[in-house]
């Protein structure tokens, strides 16, 4: 679905920076990309194939099993840099797409839902396997149980240094605070 073209443009001097927001279906990826993006988020379909031969599958050959998955895409222009946000499902069957998305990304913000904490394990596995830096934000829903963050950390088996916070994916300030925590964490890793 294409949005209006009347959006602002970046300049060629902006450094493109990629950030991935990952989490299971229904965790709030679309919501947080909308809260952060300066453009109407683009919802695109990515074609997935077993072999990852993305190009071959679009030449009209229909005898291959293909599936698509929705990606939320947003943009946030900062002085000198433009952040591109990809909201992607973190499931192992999307491994090929996942590898492409995280390649060169600054980091991954993992969104978790304490009502369905077990669904975050697959996402965390992908992130860990990719060796990409990440932070975890618990998207708080009205009926989310109030677990202390330390027990969430234990349940997710997170490293003590991995940032873990509660956020409201609908709130731009809260969403930005999660991104800042992620980027601060990456900076600490680079400086250490």
């Amino acid at each position: 679905m294409a949005s209006a073209l009347s959006d602002s443009r970046v300049s060629a001097e902006h450094i493109p920076v990629k950030l991935v927001i990952a989490g299971p279906f229904g965790v709030g990826k679309t919501t947080i990309v909308s809260a952060l993006s300066e453009i109407k988020p683009l919802n695109t379909e990515e074609v997935l194939t077993q072999a990852g031969t993305l190009v071959d599958d679009l030449t009209g050959v229909s005898d291959k099993t293909t599936t698509t998955t929705a990606i939320d895409f947003g943009r946030l222009t900062l002085p000198g840099a433009v952040l591109y946000l990809f909201g992607a499902p973190g499931q192992t069957r999307f491994q090929v797409l996942w590898d492409e998305l995280v390649r060169g990304a600054l980091g991954v913000l993992v969104l978790a839902d304490t009502r369905r904490i077990d669904e975050s394990f697959a996402v965390l596995d992908l992130v860990e396997n990719a060796g990409i830096r990440y932070a975890v934000a618990v998207n708080h829903f009205p009926d989310s149980p109030d677990y202390p963050l330390e027990s969430v950390r234990k349940a997710l088996d997170l490293d003590p240094r991995t940032p873990l916070m509660v956020c409201d994916a609908r709130d731009p300030a809260s969403a930005r605070a999660s991104l800042i925590a992620l980027v601060e964490h990456v900076r600490e890793l680079v400086l250490s």
Partner: protein, 103 residues
């Protein structure tokens, strides 16, 4: 669209977040319809390949090749995200942090 011919370079240095813009001295006529649609889209300034794909209503992997072909022909220029190394550049991190904090 079906008749569009894509000249695909062997090495494609274009990905989703590659910024694409029109080369200052580019010849912009005589392109296939997808190519001219892409150029019309870029008249207002640079866009990422992913945004181009969404606006054109074409799959990313098709637009990636389209862009690569037009880059090879000198019509388009690109700016790629920093090369994926083990750790990001500290200057970029500071740039992003100060930008986010100032919002």
């Amino acid at each position: 669209m079906a008749a569009a011919r894509l000249t695909v370079p062997e090495h494609i240095d274009v990905e989703r977040t590659t910024l694409v813009y029109i080369a200052p001295d580019a010849a912009t006529n005589g392109l296939d319809p997808p190519g001219s649609h892409l150029l019309a889209l870029l008249q207002d300034g640079p866009l990422s390949v992913y945004e181009c794909a969404a606006h054109l209503g074409l799959p990313y992997c098709v637009v990636r090749l389209l862009v690569a072909g037009l880059v090879g022909g000198g019509t388009l220029l690109t700016r790629n995200p920093p090369v994926a190394t083990s750790l990001p550049d500290i200057e970029i991190l500071e740039l992003v942090l100060s930008g986010l904090r100032a919002l």
